[in-house]
Subunit: 460 residues, 2 copies
């Protein structure tokens, strides 16, 4: 009995020691990020010197070269590119949108949705049919839709506490709406911008037409513009109110591009990988500050902090700048494909793609209740002083999602305060000035902390 008590005491002390060592390392990680952090100045360069970087654009190529040389300057063990072919869509001239109300017309801010085709050169004018859902559209059917412009106008539901859920609940209008409208004979689609904010920014973003299906021009309209159009449609019956829009975007042949990968090679298990990443491409209208410049510079910062602190990970740690998240996801696919081909083993991946706002915690994809409970009992307390301790089941990120082919890999989403994200998401307002230095740095530190804990203790 006595020796049992002693054993319990020894184990307790051992656990306590490990825990307090971890606690000290986390404090040093945060100090490095907050006192010597480079993420903010790196983000400034990416936004102001490179700028918008849609897949296939010269700026996307410039961002590949810049992040590669930055990784080299930080002295990572390996720095390399992964070639992949990416869709190459270009917006062309600034789009024009008008509400035609009898003899008068009102200009409204629109922009083509990514991957949309152009209108005919002179634009399209047609009657407008407003719907709130894809289901409503299907019920109306071809007879009602044919020859018309479909106007999807279901707003964000403000009752969701996290705005990502409101985006998820409204998003089908943009992702899938145009294809359904095309199938029913519509000549064009106007989608209410995916935001709760009432303003004059149209929010771009990709739309999808199934392979071989009929494609029609599709554009986003600002929320103020959508409200104006909807109000006029209520006042005056169609066909008095029509919509006109013109865009000359097009899809060019696929272009060659790259993921950029930096690595600190593991001292014990070099073929077992922990990946941290964000996406390097951004929409063409924005600097791509929060989407996803912040994920890029934070991922770089994780490895830089390791170097600066002289920490040697047991497993190999990679920062991956994924290409083409916005309109294809080819970079994410390529990374998983090469990992399989090279017989790598992946134990965990973390993606930062929710903006560079204040950290809240992490969500763990497809883990068991037992695992999430273990994660919480082992690590929550360590992250509480940093207010980044919400650790729950949930999604990860679309670039790392293809790593699900590795059964051992735990896929993790870095989670931030979500209130401001959709005010600027996919708009010209997604600029460096709207990122707070400390919020960005706290995120880089939180990501480094989690990588450190996984590297030291495993995750299951």
């Amino acid at each position: 009995m006595k020796s049992f008590k002693l054993l319990v005491a020894v184990i307790f002390l051992f656990v306590l020691t490990v825990h307090s060592q971890d606690s000290l390392v986390l404090r040093k990680i945060y100090d490095e990020a907050l006192v010597n952090g480079k993420s903010y100045e790196n983000l400034k360069y990416l936004c102001k010197q490179i700028g918008p970087r849609l897949s296939g654009s010269p700026q996307a190529q410039k961002s590949v070269e810049w992040t590669k040389s930055l990784m080299e300057s930080y002295g990572f063990d390996k720095v390399f590119l992964q070639e992949c072919m990416v869709p190459h869509w270009v917006r062309g001239e600034k789009e024009v949108g008008k509400i035609i109300n009898g003899k008068t017309s009102i200009d409204v801010p629109i922009c083509a949705l990514g991957m949309s085709p152009a209108t005919p050169k002179g634009g399209i004018t047609a009657q407008v049919i407003e719907v709130k859902s894809l289901n409503e559209l299907e019920i109306l059917g071809e007879a009602a839709i044919k020859g018309k412009i479909v106007f999807f106008n279901r707003p964000f539901d403000p009752r969701f506490i996290e705005t990502g859920k409101a985006y998820g609940a409204a998003g089908d209008q943009r992702f899938a709406g145009p294809a359904v409208a095309a199938k029913l004979g519509a000549v064009g689609v106007i989608v209410r911008s995916l935001t709760e904010s009432l303003d004059d920014y149209p929010h771009t973003g990709t739309t999808q037409f199934p392979e071989g299906s009929r494609k029609i021009p599709a554009a986003a309209i600002s929320t103020n513009g959508a409200n104006q159009l909807s109000a006029l449609l209520k006042l005056k019956k169609s066909p008095t109110v029509q919509f006109y829009f013109k865009q000359n975007c097009k899809t060019l042949p696929d272009a060659k591009s790259y993921n950029v990968v930096g690595e600190i090679t593991g001292s014990e298990s070099p073929n077992e990988f922990i990946t941290v990443g964000g996406h390097l491409d951004s929409w063409d209208l924005a600097e791509g500050a929060h989407d996803d410049g912040t994920g890029i510079v934070q991922s770089l910062e994780v490895l830089r902090i390791y170097k600066a602190m002289g920490m040697k990970p047991k497993h190999s740690i990679r920062a991956v700048m994924f290409m083409n998240e916005e309109n294809g996801g080819r970079g994410g696919d390529k990374y998983a494909e090469l990992a399989l081909k090279n017989k790598e083993q992946h134990i965990a991946a973390i993606e930062s793609d929710g903006g560079g706002f204040t950290p809240r915690g992490f969500t763990f994809q497809d883990v068991s209740t037992e695992t999430i409970n273990n994660i919480n009992s082992n690590w929550k307390e360590l992250l509480t002083p940093y207010l980044a301790d919400r650790l729950s089941k949930g999604g990860s990120g679309s670039d790392i999602a293809p790593l699900a082919v590795f059964k051992e890999a735990v896929l993790i989403g870095y989670r931030v305060d979500s209130q401001r994200y959709f005010d600027i998401h996919h708009t010209p307002n997604d600029v460096f000035e709207n990122v707070n230095k400390r919020e960005l740095e706290l995120g880089a530190a939180a990501m480094t902390a989690l990588v450190y804990l996984i590297d030291q203790h495993g995750i299951k």
Copy 2:
């Protein structure tokens, strides 16, 4: 045994039912705040139609009248003013600050600290002595300080996770530094602005000279200006580098002003009060959006939500717009003084004065460990869906602090994400545009939720 089990089951079901009723009420509170909220439009009015409202100013009076009439329009049971005399300090003309470097001079942004005296009409020019702390100043002593301008230049420590702690750690330079420098014979004081942000805004704020002590002119300098001055002082020894500043602020006789109080009278214990409040006055340079317009409109919103939902509180609930938090605290003193005089009983008070950012939770002042544990076990889970569930021991707010005379009163601080607060605190950049609608509304809902729980279940 059987009847004991039955009893346990009944109690369990009862607890579960109460809990799930609370959960439904909280959801309705949030829906009302997020769908029909008025806090954002009220804040816009306060910032844009009234604007800066330092104690004693015409705008302060306008804000008293406007909040009173707004409360009346909402149909609160009682709406009344509490008269109090407040300090009346005025800034006068825009201040001028220059680094004198031999024959050249460099303009730097400064502003007088609140309650500071003016410089002589022609300004002050003197050698500069840079210090990092009050202690350093005391050690240097009168011989080194006499006739000089003292430059307090200890920056925010970025390692604090919550910026309020960095403010607390640097704040003595502004609050107390000028009085100490005056005692040692300095002719003026320049204080590095209390922010981590590197920019060109001088941050005002009050300074204190003990009754009857020598007073000298004191001003804040922007962080960029402070860095410039410090760099020059390192390069070239004094007396080559001097500082010049000029300000003509003054303190007028005390002015008459008011707290504005709105009340929904309790159905069971009308003489027991739960107070929610913020402060109506703001610095003269800013719209006082985050400091503390948001606290004002959130406190109003708590009572408006009660009315809109038709909820009848057991205890009386008051929204208090405190006057003169920034440079005197007279409104807070008056509220407690009248509460005592009128033999009111106060069971709880919540102050919102940390900005209208995303809610984190609440801190409870001077409660026992047992109480905070009870609060957590009873309520944390109810607030978790709203991400406002950090409930810990901590401070409350300076307006409600005088209510500590009521031994039964639990004083509570509403806590928000703190990262952006000191970027704009006490500067012309504290404007309506820097407040996010949802963050503001979520705060009003969290405050209402806590008031509801306290009213229903008590707090100890």
